[in-house]
């Protein structure tokens, strides 16, 4: 019996980790700047490619993953400086600009590296509970997702940077008037967002085939999680991922992956009809 219970938890944890890891970076950027980064998938792709490249060079996997996340984060800061910076007053245009960037990057990668590279296998290791065996790496992913949530909580709630960042989130003009260097806050936040996307790619790199268009695999999940989460990402993303993971896991288990994905989208459309401002608006209202 406990094996079945664990199996349900395991499947739930798998979907939850996927949603959190793919959405966290997007949510930070959206929450801080009101900008949806359409090149999010390309930062994920970047993380995955750097990881695989480093591992093929002989770097141990965990170190390669950390380096990949840092690389993506640094590229993010550059992108913020060159492009995103100009669009803070025009969020819809920033959407178009980052989409243009995403097209350029994906297609250039296809031209340069071709459609596939030599992958790395999923780290071995499994454990058995009752009659079932489970892959340990999936639990690593779940632990990483929880670590990301805890890390974001600490950064935004317990540090000086977090206080200033939240002030910028609430009222950028006022924060600037009080001496916060909002430009730098934005650059760092975009870097964190890109770095988290890179981390997502790095963590999932061993589990999937690497193609330049792989970012698209994560895009729908990350978008809908952010949409359901609502404007206050610190409050919204985790409950949104919990809710969507529950829906998706149930549908996956009973009807398969495709119905899971379609069902999740239908659920999203129904939820926004009832809660246009996302889950975080409800939580904020409850909290008052």
């Amino acid at each position: 019996m406990s094996a079945e219970v664990f199996s349900v938890f395991y499947q739930f944890a798998d979907v939850f980790a996927f949603l959190i890891l793919s959405a966290a970076g997007l949510a930070i950027v959206f929450g801080m700047m009101g900008v949806i980064n359409m090149a999010h998938g390309e930062f994920i792709m970047c993380g995955a490619y750097v990881t695989v490249g480093l591992v093929n060079l002989g770097v141990p996997l965990p170190i390669a993953q950390i380096l990949a996340a840092i690389t993506a984060g640094l590229i993010g800061v550059v992108v913020e400086y060159l492009i995103v910076r100009r669009f803070y007053k025009r969020p819809l245009d920033s959407l178009l600009a980052t989409w243009g960037l995403s097209l350029i990057v994906t297609q250039s990668m296809l031209l340069i590296v071709g459609s596939s590279v030599r992958g790395i296998g999923t780290p071995e290791g499994s454990f058995a509970i009752g009659d079932y065996t489970f892959s340990s790496y999936r639990l690593v992913l779940f632990a990483a997702a929880v670590a990301v949530l805890v890390g974001l909580f600490i950064v935004f709630m317990k540090t000086r940077f977090g206080v200033i960042a939240r002030a910028t989130m609430q009222n950028a003009a006022m924060a600037r008037a009080l001496g916060a260097r909002t430009g730098r806050i934005y650059a760092i936040s975009f870097g964190i967002g890109a770095g988290l996307a890179g981390l997502c790619g790095a963590l999932y790199a061993p589990t999937m085939t690497l193609i330049p268009t792989m970012g698209a695999t994560f895009v729908v999940e990350s978008f809908v999680t952010v949409v359901i989460g609502g404007a206050n990402v610190l409050l919204g993303t985790a409950p949104a991922a919990l809710l969507l993971a529950a829906i998706r896991m149930t549908l996956n288990a009973s009807y398969g992956q495709i119905i899971g994905q379609i069902g999740m989208l239908v659920a999203v459309i129904l939820i926004i009809r009832v809660l246009p401002e996302g889950l975080s608006s409800v939580l904020v209202r409850r909290g008052r």
Partner: protein
Amino acid sequence: MIRLLEGPQTLGRGPVFWSCFLAVLAGALVYPLFADSYDVGNFSYFLIWIFMALGLCLMWGYGGMLSFGQTLFFGIAGYAYGVLAINMGGGTATIAALLLSVVIAMIAAGILGYFMIWGGINGIFFGIVTLSATLVLAFFLGQTAGPEWRIGEARLNGFNGMKGMDPLAIGDLYIEGSALYYVMVALIVIVYLALRMLVNSGIGNVIVATRENPQRAEMLGYDVRKYQLLTFVLGSGLAGLSGALYTSWGQFITPSSIGLPAAAMPIVWVAFSGRSDLTATLVGSFLLLFGFQTITIYSQQAALVLMGALLLATVMAAPQGFVLGIGKFIAGRIGRRGKRGDDAALPAASALKTDEA
């Protein structure tokens, strides 16, 4: 009714503009007499996509609703045409299949639009939800390769695409070659003029008012949501028309005409052209399609890189759109040389706010 062709919401007016319009139309009509049939076929192919661009122009430029998922409706109507044409047989039934598939796309747009618009989704989220729906449809169609995925006689065939449907025909007469070309030109003229009349009518003014300031329009007593839904359904119906025509043109459709790179295309055309004017969209989209096709011969990927760069350059350098900017410059020149008051009406459209988010 004629008066509606020229109004505050459309640029291009007066004898100069309409003589240019007639000259271009005349050129388009005699073109097949001089060109070889391969080029005529290619031209019909470019014209297929114009409807989707005009529909997006209506929704985004006039209505302020940026849908990233126009290929969703393109795909729905494209696949619907395939399924219907295969099951209903060829001949005149294909015309019915075409009309029905556009209606199906509009119904789908009505349902999705109802949930989004009545749910208060706007700005960025509107694009995200439409794009997500598009990607899910492409994902779903991609895995329908097995023989169990069939509707009547029609196999969906997953990534290999659906084929075997009849092209448009009346009785035994297939509409292809220059006949198809003339049908396309006629359809575009009708759609273009009808859209001009729509946006200059009372309804069009409310649509633009909604874009400028939804709350103010609401306060003035208009149910903004109904106008938004109308705009969304019409724009998506035009995307559907493109899709159904595409399938009937090539007798073929695959999920890749719905997926991410395909979904970016209409946005690039309309953004580059100038979303706030129908004429600019019409001209610019055609030029881009023509250019894109030329580059695609060398490399599909390089063409997409260029499209991305074009989108980035447009947003950074000319948010209003390049074709519109050039058009305004020329119109300003002509206006200054002729009647001085002519360009006074131009700033109306240029006052378009870039963001309503």
